[in-house]
Symmetry: C2
Subunit: 310 residues, 2 copies
Protein backbone atom coordinates (compact mmCIF):
# COMPACT_ATOMS: atom_id res chain seq x y z
CA UNK A 1 0.00 0.00 0.00
CA UNK A 2 2.54 2.53 -1.16
CA UNK A 3 -0.14 5.00 -2.12
CA UNK A 4 -1.90 5.09 1.20
CA UNK A 5 -2.21 8.65 2.45
CA UNK A 6 -0.31 9.17 5.70
CA UNK A 7 0.95 12.71 5.78
CA UNK A 8 -1.52 15.51 5.36
CA UNK A 9 -0.90 19.23 5.29
CA UNK A 10 -3.91 21.45 5.90
CA UNK A 11 -3.91 24.88 4.28
CA UNK A 12 -6.24 27.33 5.99
CA UNK A 13 -6.94 27.29 9.70
CA UNK A 14 -10.54 28.44 9.66
CA UNK A 15 -13.32 26.27 11.02
CA UNK A 16 -13.33 23.85 8.07
CA UNK A 17 -9.58 23.30 7.95
CA UNK A 18 -9.26 22.85 11.71
CA UNK A 19 -12.26 20.56 11.95
CA UNK A 20 -11.37 18.13 9.16
CA UNK A 21 -7.66 18.30 9.99
CA UNK A 22 -8.37 17.49 13.62
CA UNK A 23 -10.68 14.60 12.72
CA UNK A 24 -7.98 13.15 10.45
CA UNK A 25 -5.35 13.54 13.19
CA UNK A 26 -7.70 11.90 15.68
CA UNK A 27 -8.03 9.01 13.20
CA UNK A 28 -4.27 8.43 13.39
CA UNK A 29 -2.99 10.30 10.35
CA UNK A 30 0.01 12.62 10.52
CA UNK A 31 -1.60 16.02 10.10
CA UNK A 32 0.23 19.35 9.91
CA UNK A 33 -1.16 22.85 9.47
CA UNK A 34 -0.14 25.99 7.67
CA UNK A 35 -1.41 28.71 9.98
CA UNK A 36 -1.02 32.38 9.27
CA UNK A 37 -2.64 34.74 11.73
CA UNK A 38 -3.27 32.16 14.47
CA UNK A 39 0.26 30.72 14.28
CA UNK A 40 1.35 31.33 17.89
CA UNK A 41 -1.82 29.96 19.43
CA UNK A 42 -1.97 26.81 17.31
CA UNK A 43 1.78 26.13 17.56
CA UNK A 44 1.54 26.29 21.33
CA UNK A 45 -1.91 24.95 22.09
CA UNK A 46 -2.88 22.76 19.15
CA UNK A 47 -6.47 22.55 18.00
CA UNK A 48 -9.55 22.24 20.18
CA UNK A 49 -12.82 20.93 18.82
CA UNK A 50 -15.89 21.59 20.93
CA UNK A 51 -18.38 19.21 19.43
CA UNK A 52 -21.89 18.03 20.11
CA UNK A 53 -20.35 14.58 19.67
CA UNK A 54 -17.76 15.21 22.39
CA UNK A 55 -14.86 17.65 22.72
CA UNK A 56 -11.34 16.69 21.74
CA UNK A 57 -7.92 18.19 21.27
CA UNK A 58 -5.11 17.39 18.87
CA UNK A 59 -1.46 18.37 18.61
CA UNK A 60 -0.46 18.85 14.96
CA UNK A 61 2.60 17.04 13.63
CA UNK A 62 3.93 20.39 12.42
CA UNK A 63 2.57 23.92 12.59
CA UNK A 64 4.15 26.21 10.02
CA UNK A 65 3.51 29.81 9.07
CA UNK A 66 4.22 29.32 5.36
CA UNK A 67 3.98 26.28 3.06
CA UNK A 68 7.73 26.45 2.34
CA UNK A 69 8.47 25.86 6.04
CA UNK A 70 6.86 22.41 5.97
CA UNK A 71 9.42 19.62 6.53
CA UNK A 72 9.15 16.55 4.32
CA UNK A 73 6.63 15.65 1.64
CA UNK A 74 2.90 15.63 2.24
CA UNK A 75 0.87 12.91 0.55
CA UNK A 76 -2.17 15.16 0.55
CA UNK A 77 -2.66 18.89 0.83
CA UNK A 78 -6.13 19.67 2.13
CA UNK A 79 -7.02 23.18 1.02
CA UNK A 80 -9.60 24.85 3.22
CA UNK A 81 -8.82 28.51 2.65
CA UNK A 82 -11.50 30.89 1.56
CA UNK A 83 -11.84 31.38 -2.16
CA UNK A 84 -10.73 34.99 -2.54
CA UNK A 85 -9.21 36.78 -5.51
CA UNK A 86 -6.24 37.81 -3.36
CA UNK A 87 -5.31 34.22 -2.41
CA UNK A 88 -2.93 32.76 -5.01
CA UNK A 89 -3.45 29.05 -4.47
CA UNK A 90 -1.07 27.84 -7.22
CA UNK A 91 1.63 30.03 -5.72
CA UNK A 92 1.00 28.72 -2.21
CA UNK A 93 1.21 25.13 -3.41
CA UNK A 94 4.43 25.59 -5.43
CA UNK A 95 6.83 24.50 -2.63
CA UNK A 96 4.66 21.46 -1.86
CA UNK A 97 4.22 19.91 -5.29
CA UNK A 98 5.96 16.59 -5.98
CA UNK A 99 5.07 13.72 -8.31
CA UNK A 100 2.95 11.82 -5.78
CA UNK A 101 1.12 14.77 -4.26
CA UNK A 102 -2.66 14.90 -4.25
CA UNK A 103 -4.67 18.00 -3.46
CA UNK A 104 -8.12 18.05 -1.93
CA UNK A 105 -10.11 21.27 -2.08
CA UNK A 106 -12.76 21.62 0.62
CA UNK A 107 -14.13 24.96 -0.49
CA UNK A 108 -17.23 26.77 -1.70
CA UNK A 109 -18.26 27.87 -5.14
CA UNK A 110 -17.86 26.71 -8.69
CA UNK A 111 -14.86 26.48 -11.01
CA UNK A 112 -12.60 26.89 -8.02
CA UNK A 113 -10.36 24.03 -9.24
CA UNK A 114 -9.59 25.65 -12.59
CA UNK A 115 -6.59 27.85 -11.59
CA UNK A 116 -4.87 24.89 -9.95
CA UNK A 117 -5.54 22.56 -12.86
CA UNK A 118 -4.15 25.15 -15.24
CA UNK A 119 -1.01 25.70 -13.14
CA UNK A 120 -0.22 22.01 -12.50
CA UNK A 121 -1.47 19.89 -15.42
CA UNK A 122 -0.50 16.49 -13.97
CA UNK A 123 -1.57 17.14 -10.37
CA UNK A 124 -4.47 14.98 -9.14
CA UNK A 125 -7.11 17.38 -7.84
CA UNK A 126 -9.88 16.09 -5.65
CA UNK A 127 -12.73 18.40 -4.82
CA UNK A 128 -15.16 18.23 -1.93
CA UNK A 129 -18.28 19.93 -0.71
CA UNK A 130 -18.71 19.99 3.04
CA UNK A 131 -22.11 19.65 4.68
CA UNK A 132 -21.18 20.64 8.16
CA UNK A 133 -22.05 23.15 10.85
CA UNK A 134 -18.80 24.49 12.27
CA UNK A 135 -17.69 27.91 13.44
CA UNK A 136 -14.37 29.32 14.55
CA UNK A 137 -14.64 30.54 18.14
CA UNK A 138 -10.97 31.51 18.61
CA UNK A 139 -7.46 30.71 17.33
CA UNK A 140 -7.45 26.93 16.79
CA UNK A 141 -10.85 26.72 18.48
CA UNK A 142 -13.82 25.31 16.60
CA UNK A 143 -17.41 24.80 17.60
CA UNK A 144 -18.91 21.81 15.80
CA UNK A 145 -22.69 21.91 15.79
CA UNK A 146 -23.91 19.78 12.93
CA UNK A 147 -22.83 16.77 10.83
CA UNK A 148 -19.61 16.64 8.87
CA UNK A 149 -20.61 14.94 5.65
CA UNK A 150 -18.44 15.33 2.61
CA UNK A 151 -19.17 14.82 -1.03
CA UNK A 152 -15.91 14.13 -2.84
CA UNK A 153 -15.03 13.74 -6.48
CA UNK A 154 -12.09 13.86 -8.84
CA UNK A 155 -11.71 17.04 -10.86
CA UNK A 156 -12.93 17.49 -13.55
CA UNK A 157 -14.92 14.27 -13.10
CA UNK A 158 -14.96 10.50 -13.16
CA UNK A 159 -13.37 8.01 -10.80
CA UNK A 160 -9.79 6.91 -10.36
CA UNK A 161 -7.25 5.57 -7.89
CA UNK A 162 -6.56 9.00 -6.36
CA UNK A 163 -10.21 9.42 -5.49
CA UNK A 164 -10.20 5.96 -3.89
CA UNK A 165 -7.13 6.84 -1.81
CA UNK A 166 -8.59 10.11 -0.61
CA UNK A 167 -11.94 8.47 0.12
CA UNK A 168 -10.20 5.75 2.14
CA UNK A 169 -8.33 8.39 4.10
CA UNK A 170 -11.42 10.51 4.79
CA UNK A 171 -13.50 7.48 5.80
CA UNK A 172 -11.09 6.85 8.67
CA UNK A 173 -12.59 9.87 10.40
CA UNK A 174 -15.89 8.07 10.83
CA UNK A 175 -17.67 10.89 9.03
CA UNK A 176 -20.08 10.21 6.20
CA UNK A 177 -18.24 10.59 2.90
CA UNK A 178 -20.04 10.30 -0.41
CA UNK A 179 -18.30 9.68 -3.70
CA UNK A 180 -19.40 11.94 -6.54
CA UNK A 181 -18.85 11.02 -10.17
CA UNK A 182 -19.33 14.63 -11.20
CA UNK A 183 -18.32 16.98 -8.43
CA UNK A 184 -18.66 19.99 -10.74
CA UNK A 185 -22.32 19.14 -11.22
CA UNK A 186 -22.65 18.83 -7.44
CA UNK A 187 -21.09 22.27 -7.05
CA UNK A 188 -23.60 23.75 -9.49
CA UNK A 189 -26.40 22.09 -7.55
CA UNK A 190 -25.12 23.60 -4.33
CA UNK A 191 -24.83 26.97 -6.05
CA UNK A 192 -28.60 27.05 -6.56
CA UNK A 193 -28.97 27.63 -2.83
CA UNK A 194 -25.72 29.44 -2.17
CA UNK A 195 -25.98 31.84 -5.10
CA UNK A 196 -29.40 32.97 -3.92
CA UNK A 197 -29.54 32.81 -0.14
CA UNK A 198 -25.97 33.87 0.67
CA UNK A 199 -25.87 37.18 -1.24
CA UNK A 200 -29.47 38.12 -0.47
CA UNK A 201 -28.93 37.44 3.23
CA UNK A 202 -25.97 39.81 3.38
CA UNK A 203 -27.67 42.58 1.40
CA UNK A 204 -30.82 42.41 3.52
CA UNK A 205 -29.21 41.26 6.78
CA UNK A 206 -32.03 38.74 7.02
CA UNK A 207 -32.19 35.12 8.11
CA UNK A 208 -33.77 32.41 5.94
CA UNK A 209 -37.20 32.82 7.49
CA UNK A 210 -37.25 36.58 6.94
CA UNK A 211 -36.16 36.12 3.33
CA UNK A 212 -38.90 33.59 2.62
CA UNK A 213 -41.64 35.52 4.40
CA UNK A 214 -41.25 38.63 2.25
CA UNK A 215 -43.10 37.84 -0.99
CA UNK A 216 -40.92 40.10 -3.12
CA UNK A 217 -37.74 38.56 -1.75
CA UNK A 218 -39.08 35.03 -2.06
CA UNK A 219 -39.87 35.75 -5.71
CA UNK A 220 -36.38 37.17 -6.14
CA UNK A 221 -34.74 34.08 -4.62
CA UNK A 222 -36.69 31.92 -7.05
CA UNK A 223 -35.57 34.03 -10.01
CA UNK A 224 -31.92 33.92 -8.93
CA UNK A 225 -32.13 30.14 -8.62
CA UNK A 226 -33.62 29.80 -12.09
CA UNK A 227 -30.77 31.94 -13.42
CA UNK A 228 -28.25 29.55 -11.87
CA UNK A 229 -30.10 26.57 -13.32
CA UNK A 230 -30.21 28.15 -16.79
CA UNK A 231 -26.54 29.07 -16.62
CA UNK A 232 -25.54 25.56 -15.52
CA UNK A 233 -27.51 24.13 -18.42
CA UNK A 234 -25.83 26.47 -20.88
CA UNK A 235 -22.53 25.20 -19.47
CA UNK A 236 -23.64 21.60 -20.09
CA UNK A 237 -24.75 20.55 -16.60
CA UNK A 238 -28.19 19.07 -16.67
CA UNK A 239 -29.90 20.71 -13.69
CA UNK A 240 -33.63 20.24 -13.47
CA UNK A 241 -36.08 23.07 -12.83
CA UNK A 242 -37.63 21.19 -9.93
CA UNK A 243 -34.39 21.70 -7.96
CA UNK A 244 -35.49 25.30 -7.43
CA UNK A 245 -38.68 24.36 -5.62
CA UNK A 246 -36.80 21.61 -3.80
CA UNK A 247 -34.23 24.08 -2.46
CA UNK A 248 -36.98 26.45 -1.38
CA UNK A 249 -39.06 23.79 0.32
CA UNK A 250 -36.04 22.43 2.21
CA UNK A 251 -35.36 25.95 3.44
CA UNK A 252 -38.98 26.48 4.47
CA UNK A 253 -38.62 23.44 6.71
CA UNK A 254 -35.37 24.57 8.35
CA UNK A 255 -35.39 26.63 11.54
CA UNK A 256 -34.59 30.32 10.87
CA UNK A 257 -30.97 30.32 9.94
CA UNK A 258 -28.25 32.89 9.23
CA UNK A 259 -26.17 32.02 6.17
CA UNK A 260 -22.43 31.56 6.54
CA UNK A 261 -21.92 34.61 4.34
CA UNK A 262 -24.05 36.78 6.61
CA UNK A 263 -22.09 35.49 9.62
CA UNK A 264 -18.86 36.38 7.80
CA UNK A 265 -20.25 39.83 7.01
CA UNK A 266 -21.33 40.48 10.57
CA UNK A 267 -17.90 39.39 11.82
CA UNK A 268 -16.18 41.68 9.27
CA UNK A 269 -14.57 38.69 7.56
CA UNK A 270 -13.91 38.39 3.84
CA UNK A 271 -16.88 37.32 1.71
CA UNK A 272 -16.50 34.64 -0.93
CA UNK A 273 -18.22 36.75 -3.55
CA UNK A 274 -15.96 35.59 -6.36
CA UNK A 275 -16.51 31.84 -5.85
CA UNK A 276 -20.25 32.25 -5.41
CA UNK A 277 -21.01 35.00 -7.93
CA UNK A 278 -17.85 36.09 -9.75
CA UNK A 279 -17.13 32.73 -11.38
CA UNK A 280 -20.74 32.21 -12.52
CA UNK A 281 -20.69 35.73 -14.00
CA UNK A 282 -17.51 34.99 -15.94
CA UNK A 283 -19.15 31.89 -17.38
CA UNK A 284 -22.31 33.83 -18.19
CA UNK A 285 -20.27 36.42 -20.02
CA UNK A 286 -18.33 33.86 -22.04
CA UNK A 287 -21.52 31.95 -22.95
CA UNK A 288 -23.56 35.14 -23.40
CA UNK A 289 -26.25 34.00 -20.99
CA UNK A 290 -28.14 36.92 -19.42
CA UNK A 291 -27.99 36.81 -15.61
CA UNK A 292 -29.23 40.26 -14.55
CA UNK A 293 -30.17 39.17 -11.04
CA UNK A 294 -26.79 37.58 -10.29
CA UNK A 295 -25.09 40.58 -11.84
CA UNK A 296 -26.99 42.98 -9.58
CA UNK A 297 -26.17 40.95 -6.48
CA UNK A 298 -22.47 40.75 -7.37
CA UNK A 299 -22.12 44.48 -7.94
CA UNK A 300 -23.95 45.37 -4.73
CA UNK A 301 -22.12 42.80 -2.63
CA UNK A 302 -18.70 43.75 -3.90
CA UNK A 303 -19.19 47.42 -3.13
CA UNK A 304 -20.82 46.77 0.24
CA UNK A 305 -17.85 44.60 1.24
CA UNK A 306 -15.48 47.36 0.08
CA UNK A 307 -17.31 50.10 1.96
CA UNK A 308 -17.61 48.02 5.13
CA UNK A 309 -14.03 46.77 5.09
CA UNK A 310 -12.63 47.38 8.58
Amino acid sequence: MNDEIQKILVLGSGAIGCFYGARLAKAGLEVSFVVRSDFEAVAQGGIHIHSYEGDFHITPAQVVARPEDYQGQADLVLVATKVLAEIDLPGLLAPLVHPKLKVLLVQNGIEIEAPLAAAYPGLPILSAIAFVGVGRTGPGQVHHQLKGNLEVGAYPGGFGPELDQVMACLLKTGLEVKRSEDICLSRWKKLIWNGAFNPVSVLTQANTEQMLQNPRTEALLRKIMFEVVALARAKGYDLEDRLVEQNLSVTYKMPPYKTSMLLDFEAHRHLETEAILGNPLKIARSLQVPVPHLETLAALLELLAQVKKP
Copy 2:
Protein backbone atom coordinates in the same frame (compact mmCIF):
# COMPACT_ATOMS: atom_id res chain seq x y z
CA MET B 1 -57.79 88.72 -8.05
CA ASN B 2 -60.21 86.35 -6.38
CA ASP B 3 -58.10 83.37 -7.27
CA GLU B 4 -54.89 84.61 -5.75
CA ILE B 5 -53.51 82.11 -3.28
CA GLN B 6 -53.42 83.53 0.25
CA LYS B 7 -53.98 80.69 2.66
CA ILE B 8 -51.68 77.70 2.47
CA LEU B 9 -51.76 74.55 4.55
CA VAL B 10 -48.60 72.48 4.55
CA LEU B 11 -48.96 68.73 5.09
CA GLY B 12 -45.79 67.10 6.34
CA SER B 13 -43.30 68.82 8.60
CA GLY B 14 -40.11 67.25 7.32
CA ALA B 15 -37.36 69.35 5.81
CA ILE B 16 -39.16 69.99 2.53
CA GLY B 17 -42.50 71.00 4.07
CA CYS B 18 -40.90 73.25 6.68
CA PHE B 19 -38.54 74.88 4.21
CA TYR B 20 -41.05 75.77 1.49
CA GLY B 21 -43.76 76.59 4.03
CA ALA B 22 -41.40 78.93 5.87
CA ARG B 23 -40.29 80.62 2.64
CA LEU B 24 -43.93 81.20 1.68
CA ALA B 25 -44.71 82.59 5.14
CA LYS B 26 -41.68 84.86 4.94
CA ALA B 27 -43.04 86.09 1.60
CA GLY B 28 -46.22 87.26 3.34
CA LEU B 29 -48.59 84.40 2.75
CA GLU B 30 -50.75 82.93 5.51
CA VAL B 31 -49.14 79.54 6.06
CA SER B 32 -50.35 76.86 8.45
CA PHE B 33 -48.92 73.42 9.16
CA VAL B 34 -50.27 69.99 9.92
CA VAL B 35 -47.66 68.57 12.25
CA ARG B 36 -47.85 65.13 13.75
CA SER B 37 -44.90 64.04 15.83
CA ASP B 38 -43.33 67.50 16.21
CA PHE B 39 -46.61 69.19 17.16
CA GLU B 40 -45.62 70.57 20.58
CA ALA B 41 -42.31 71.99 19.40
CA VAL B 42 -43.70 73.67 16.28
CA ALA B 43 -46.85 74.96 18.02
CA GLN B 44 -44.70 76.61 20.68
CA GLY B 45 -41.56 77.59 18.80
CA GLY B 46 -42.53 77.90 15.14
CA ILE B 47 -40.11 76.98 12.42
CA HIS B 48 -36.42 77.83 12.27
CA ILE B 49 -34.51 77.79 9.00
CA HIS B 50 -30.74 77.76 9.27
CA SER B 51 -29.71 78.71 5.80
CA TYR B 52 -26.54 79.53 3.92
CA GLU B 53 -28.52 82.53 2.70
CA GLY B 54 -29.24 83.69 6.25
CA ASP B 55 -31.21 82.20 9.15
CA PHE B 56 -34.84 83.09 9.75
CA HIS B 57 -37.77 82.09 11.87
CA ILE B 58 -41.51 82.06 11.19
CA THR B 59 -44.60 81.64 13.33
CA PRO B 60 -47.25 79.63 11.47
CA ALA B 61 -50.78 81.02 11.21
CA GLN B 62 -52.06 77.75 12.63
CA VAL B 63 -50.35 74.58 13.80
CA VAL B 64 -52.70 71.61 13.89
CA ALA B 65 -52.16 67.95 14.64
CA ARG B 66 -54.73 66.71 12.13
CA PRO B 67 -56.11 68.16 8.89
CA GLU B 68 -59.64 68.25 10.37
CA ASP B 69 -58.45 70.66 13.06
CA TYR B 70 -57.59 73.35 10.52
CA GLN B 71 -59.83 76.42 10.86
CA GLY B 72 -61.15 77.96 7.65
CA GLN B 73 -60.51 77.07 4.02
CA ALA B 74 -57.05 76.78 2.55
CA ASP B 75 -56.54 78.00 -1.00
CA LEU B 76 -53.66 75.59 -1.45
CA VAL B 77 -52.58 72.44 0.32
CA LEU B 78 -48.88 71.85 -0.12
CA VAL B 79 -48.21 68.16 0.35
CA ALA B 80 -44.67 67.38 1.45
CA THR B 81 -45.15 64.08 3.23
CA LYS B 82 -43.11 61.07 2.26
CA VAL B 83 -44.66 58.79 -0.32
CA LEU B 84 -45.31 55.68 1.74
CA ALA B 85 -47.86 52.93 1.28
CA GLU B 86 -49.15 53.56 4.81
CA ILE B 87 -49.96 57.24 4.20
CA ASP B 88 -53.50 57.62 2.84
CA LEU B 89 -53.27 60.99 1.14
CA PRO B 90 -56.85 61.08 -0.21
CA GLY B 91 -58.10 60.34 3.30
CA LEU B 92 -55.93 63.06 4.83
CA LEU B 93 -57.22 65.61 2.33
CA ALA B 94 -60.90 64.72 2.75
CA PRO B 95 -61.66 67.39 5.42
CA LEU B 96 -59.85 70.05 3.38
CA VAL B 97 -61.43 69.67 -0.04
CA HIS B 98 -63.69 72.47 -1.28
CA PRO B 99 -64.53 73.68 -4.80
CA LYS B 100 -61.67 76.22 -4.97
CA LEU B 101 -58.96 74.11 -3.39
CA LYS B 102 -55.73 73.41 -5.23
CA VAL B 103 -53.20 70.81 -4.17
CA LEU B 104 -49.47 70.99 -4.80
CA LEU B 105 -47.43 67.81 -4.34
CA VAL B 106 -43.75 68.41 -3.58
CA GLN B 107 -42.72 64.79 -3.42
CA ASN B 108 -40.46 62.19 -4.94
CA GLY B 109 -41.18 59.39 -7.37
CA ILE B 110 -43.48 58.73 -10.28
CA GLU B 111 -47.25 58.27 -10.53
CA ILE B 112 -47.59 59.73 -7.07
CA GLU B 113 -50.50 61.93 -8.20
CA ALA B 114 -52.65 59.04 -9.40
CA PRO B 115 -54.38 58.09 -6.11
CA LEU B 116 -55.40 61.71 -5.50
CA ALA B 117 -56.64 62.21 -9.06
CA ALA B 118 -58.70 59.03 -8.78
CA ALA B 119 -60.22 60.05 -5.45
CA TYR B 120 -61.05 63.68 -6.40
CA PRO B 121 -61.76 63.92 -10.14
CA GLY B 122 -62.30 67.68 -10.26
CA LEU B 123 -59.48 68.69 -7.94
CA PRO B 124 -56.66 70.70 -9.58
CA ILE B 125 -53.44 68.85 -8.83
CA LEU B 126 -50.12 70.59 -9.29
CA SER B 127 -47.00 68.57 -9.02
CA ALA B 128 -43.48 69.74 -8.25
CA ILE B 129 -39.98 68.40 -8.14
CA ALA B 130 -37.68 70.09 -5.65
CA PHE B 131 -34.00 70.64 -6.38
CA VAL B 132 -32.88 71.61 -2.94
CA GLY B 133 -30.44 70.60 -0.22
CA VAL B 134 -32.30 70.65 3.08
CA GLY B 135 -32.19 68.44 6.13
CA ARG B 136 -34.25 68.27 9.30
CA THR B 137 -32.01 68.90 12.29
CA GLY B 138 -34.75 68.85 14.94
CA PRO B 139 -38.50 69.47 15.40
CA GLY B 140 -39.29 72.48 13.20
CA GLN B 141 -35.56 72.95 12.59
CA VAL B 142 -34.20 72.80 9.06
CA HIS B 143 -30.70 73.16 7.72
CA HIS B 144 -30.77 74.66 4.22
CA GLN B 145 -27.54 73.98 2.36
CA LEU B 146 -28.26 74.23 -1.35
CA LYS B 147 -30.65 75.97 -3.76
CA GLY B 148 -34.40 75.65 -3.60
CA ASN B 149 -35.41 75.40 -7.23
CA LEU B 150 -38.76 73.93 -8.10
CA GLU B 151 -40.07 72.50 -11.32
CA VAL B 152 -43.86 72.72 -11.29
CA GLY B 153 -46.52 71.42 -13.63
CA ALA B 154 -50.20 70.63 -13.76
CA TYR B 155 -51.12 66.98 -13.45
CA PRO B 156 -51.41 65.09 -15.75
CA GLY B 157 -49.90 67.79 -18.00
CA GLY B 158 -50.39 71.00 -19.94
CA PHE B 159 -50.89 74.52 -18.66
CA GLY B 160 -53.85 76.24 -17.06
CA PRO B 161 -54.92 79.02 -14.69
CA GLU B 162 -54.29 76.89 -11.58
CA LEU B 163 -50.68 76.40 -12.59
CA ASP B 164 -50.32 80.14 -13.13
CA GLN B 165 -51.76 80.86 -9.70
CA VAL B 166 -49.48 78.39 -7.95
CA MET B 167 -46.48 79.65 -9.95
CA ALA B 168 -47.29 83.24 -8.96
CA CYS B 169 -47.52 82.18 -5.33
CA LEU B 170 -44.27 80.23 -5.37
CA LEU B 171 -42.37 82.99 -7.17
CA LYS B 172 -43.06 85.30 -4.22
CA THR B 173 -40.49 83.29 -2.27
CA GLY B 174 -37.72 84.56 -4.52
CA LEU B 175 -36.74 80.97 -5.33
CA GLU B 176 -36.24 79.82 -8.88
CA VAL B 177 -39.43 78.18 -10.10
CA LYS B 178 -39.61 76.56 -13.52
CA ARG B 179 -42.85 75.77 -15.29
CA SER B 180 -43.06 72.27 -16.74
CA GLU B 181 -45.53 71.41 -19.48
CA ASP B 182 -45.14 67.71 -18.71
CA ILE B 183 -44.27 67.17 -15.08
CA CYS B 184 -44.77 63.41 -15.43
CA LEU B 185 -42.01 63.36 -18.02
CA SER B 186 -39.85 65.40 -15.66
CA ARG B 187 -40.51 62.89 -12.91
CA TRP B 188 -39.41 60.04 -15.17
CA LYS B 189 -36.27 61.99 -16.02
CA LYS B 190 -35.52 62.44 -12.35
CA LEU B 191 -36.17 58.75 -11.77
CA ILE B 192 -33.21 57.89 -13.99
CA TRP B 193 -30.93 59.14 -11.23
CA ASN B 194 -33.12 58.37 -8.24
CA GLY B 195 -34.03 54.85 -9.29
CA ALA B 196 -30.37 53.94 -9.62
CA PHE B 197 -28.36 55.90 -7.07
CA ASN B 198 -30.85 55.90 -4.19
CA PRO B 199 -31.43 52.13 -3.88
CA VAL B 200 -27.83 51.19 -4.68
CA SER B 201 -26.52 53.64 -2.10
CA VAL B 202 -28.65 52.11 0.65
CA LEU B 203 -27.80 48.51 -0.26
CA THR B 204 -24.07 49.24 -0.41
CA GLN B 205 -23.96 52.06 2.18
CA ALA B 206 -21.80 53.93 -0.31
CA ASN B 207 -21.63 57.54 -1.39
CA THR B 208 -21.77 58.60 -5.05
CA GLU B 209 -18.00 58.51 -5.48
CA GLN B 210 -17.70 55.00 -4.05
CA MET B 211 -20.51 53.80 -6.31
CA LEU B 212 -18.89 55.23 -9.42
CA GLN B 213 -15.37 54.05 -8.60
CA ASN B 214 -16.36 50.38 -8.41
CA PRO B 215 -16.51 49.22 -12.04
CA ARG B 216 -19.15 46.56 -11.37
CA THR B 217 -21.37 49.01 -9.53
CA GLU B 218 -20.88 51.69 -12.16
CA ALA B 219 -21.96 49.17 -14.80
CA LEU B 220 -24.94 48.24 -12.66
CA LEU B 221 -26.01 51.88 -12.26
CA ARG B 222 -25.88 52.28 -16.03
CA LYS B 223 -28.04 49.18 -16.54
CA ILE B 224 -30.60 50.33 -14.00
CA MET B 225 -30.80 53.71 -15.73
CA PHE B 226 -31.35 52.08 -19.11
CA GLU B 227 -34.13 50.01 -17.59
CA VAL B 228 -35.83 53.19 -16.38
CA VAL B 229 -35.42 54.78 -19.80
CA ALA B 230 -36.85 51.72 -21.56
CA LEU B 231 -39.76 51.56 -19.14
CA ALA B 232 -40.53 55.26 -19.57
CA ARG B 233 -40.55 54.79 -23.34
CA ALA B 234 -42.90 51.83 -23.08
CA LYS B 235 -45.18 54.09 -21.04
CA GLY B 236 -45.05 56.73 -23.78
CA TYR B 237 -42.48 59.16 -22.38
CA ASP B 238 -39.80 59.87 -24.90
CA LEU B 239 -36.61 59.68 -22.85
CA GLU B 240 -33.38 59.63 -24.78
CA ASP B 241 -30.55 57.15 -24.18
CA ARG B 242 -28.05 59.96 -23.79
CA LEU B 243 -29.74 60.96 -20.52
CA VAL B 244 -28.04 57.95 -18.93
CA GLU B 245 -24.53 59.19 -19.70
CA GLN B 246 -25.60 62.71 -18.81
CA ASN B 247 -26.76 61.61 -15.36
CA LEU B 248 -23.54 59.70 -14.81
CA SER B 249 -21.30 62.52 -15.93
CA VAL B 250 -23.11 65.04 -13.73
CA THR B 251 -22.58 62.72 -10.79
CA TYR B 252 -18.90 62.23 -11.61
CA LYS B 253 -18.52 65.99 -11.32
CA MET B 254 -20.29 66.28 -7.97
CA PRO B 255 -18.38 66.08 -4.70
CA PRO B 256 -18.88 62.69 -2.96
CA TYR B 257 -22.44 62.75 -1.81
CA LYS B 258 -24.73 60.57 0.30
CA THR B 259 -28.17 60.15 -1.26
CA SER B 260 -31.23 61.25 0.67
CA MET B 261 -32.34 57.64 0.84
CA LEU B 262 -29.08 56.57 2.45
CA LEU B 263 -29.41 59.43 4.96
CA ASP B 264 -32.95 58.25 5.70
CA PHE B 265 -31.68 54.70 6.13
CA GLU B 266 -28.87 55.71 8.45
CA ALA B 267 -31.31 57.76 10.54
CA HIS B 268 -33.74 54.79 10.70
CA ARG B 269 -36.40 56.79 8.84
CA HIS B 270 -38.88 55.33 6.37
CA LEU B 271 -37.58 54.77 2.83
CA GLU B 272 -39.62 55.86 -0.18
CA THR B 273 -39.17 52.51 -1.88
CA GLU B 274 -42.69 52.48 -3.32
CA ALA B 275 -42.49 55.87 -5.05
CA ILE B 276 -39.02 55.19 -6.42
CA LEU B 277 -39.26 51.48 -7.26
CA GLY B 278 -42.71 50.13 -6.44
CA ASN B 279 -44.63 52.33 -8.88
CA PRO B 280 -42.20 51.69 -11.76
CA LEU B 281 -42.48 47.95 -11.07
CA LYS B 282 -46.27 48.12 -11.22
CA ILE B 283 -46.04 49.84 -14.59
CA ALA B 284 -43.47 47.31 -15.79
CA ARG B 285 -45.78 44.48 -14.82
CA SER B 286 -48.80 45.99 -16.54
CA LEU B 287 -46.83 46.71 -19.71
CA GLN B 288 -44.87 43.46 -19.49
CA VAL B 289 -41.53 45.22 -19.70
CA PRO B 290 -38.70 43.19 -18.10
CA VAL B 291 -36.92 45.16 -15.38
CA PRO B 292 -34.84 42.52 -13.56
CA HIS B 293 -32.41 45.03 -12.05
CA LEU B 294 -35.15 47.25 -10.60
CA GLU B 295 -36.95 44.17 -9.38
CA THR B 296 -33.85 42.93 -7.55
CA LEU B 297 -33.28 46.30 -5.92
CA ALA B 298 -36.90 46.57 -4.80
CA ALA B 299 -36.95 43.13 -3.20
CA LEU B 300 -33.65 43.67 -1.40
CA LEU B 301 -34.53 47.16 -0.23
CA GLU B 302 -37.95 46.22 1.04
CA LEU B 303 -36.60 43.35 3.14
CA LEU B 304 -33.62 45.33 4.41
CA ALA B 305 -35.96 48.10 5.56
CA GLN B 306 -38.16 45.50 7.26
CA VAL B 307 -35.26 43.80 9.03
CA LYS B 308 -33.73 47.10 10.12
CA LYS B 309 -37.00 48.66 11.27
CA PRO B 310 -36.32 50.06 14.76
